[in-house]
Symmetry: C2
Subunit: 172 residues, 2 copies
Amino acid sequence: MEALENILNRRSIRRYTDQPITDEDLHKILEAAMSGPSCVNARDYSFIVVRDEETLLKMAEANGRPAQPLKKAAAGILVLGDLDRAFKGAPDYWIIDGAIACENLILAANALGIGSVWLGTYPQENRVENLKKLFDLPDNIIPHSIIALGYPDEQPTRKGFYEEDRVHFEKW
Amino acid sequence: MEALENILNRRSIRRYTDQPITDEDLHKILEAAMSGPSCVNARDYSFIVVRDEETLLKMAEANGRPAQPLKKAAAGILVLGDLDRAFKGAPDYWIIDGAIACENLILAANALGIGSVWLGTYPQENRVENLKKLFDLPDNIIPHSIIALGYPDEQPTRKGFYEEDRVHFEKW
């Protein structure tokens, strides 16, 4: 798909068919996730790719009501920040670096015809703690977001997205 | 450009030719920036588009040493969070929503042949304060990042980006 169109037509997809995602496509999606910029090129993230149904159910329970689409997803990718790799001068850039990885991930999925919904975890502390426990994560590894993935079983229509009132020129 | 290739081949560009960016391309870039997901669809961001040379110099001064490319940029876009629009239950999602807007912005620029470098502002408090003063921003509007834009006058080579040690399957 053409790159601009891919950005403009992506919508959150919460209903999926039973079609699995191939290892090859998962690899492409993860490569895209790791191809964004990061603060001082720290690449302070990691990923847990989950396709096991039982684990997807547990992730859905751990991440609050909006995470229900995980229960029928072909895969869920837990995106994690890695504080040991983060920029020492301002470690909170891990939050931004993780978001870059997530956005690239969902755009790459869309380019491959795979739908996704981004399930926010950080900064909601109960979700962060639930997932830390579920995956028994070390202290330096912080749950950032979960991306649910699957072939679309719904087709949300595109809405106009440019909003004039958000754009200022030269000054506020 | 093909969507996956556009994500994989994007590199930070810090040297620019004198070629200006058209209003039409700027509009496309901003539309892409506003086409990502955001927490509860809050769309809690705004943009200041700067092409005035003197203002670009002041932004470069305000945002620390890595911001020097702004001095020769065709445009600088200051991406801002809007706390009045942020999700009340967890307003810090504004940081993630701003990062999504920035990543879409640089990917759209790349698709149009326009180079960019992402200049981190938040969470570095001195940069945030300098830019708040420079643009006399209201209290609810927080500087997130600056994106410097211009036609590339350098061609960094692509590096491999998939790192096996960042990817886990089913468990940590």
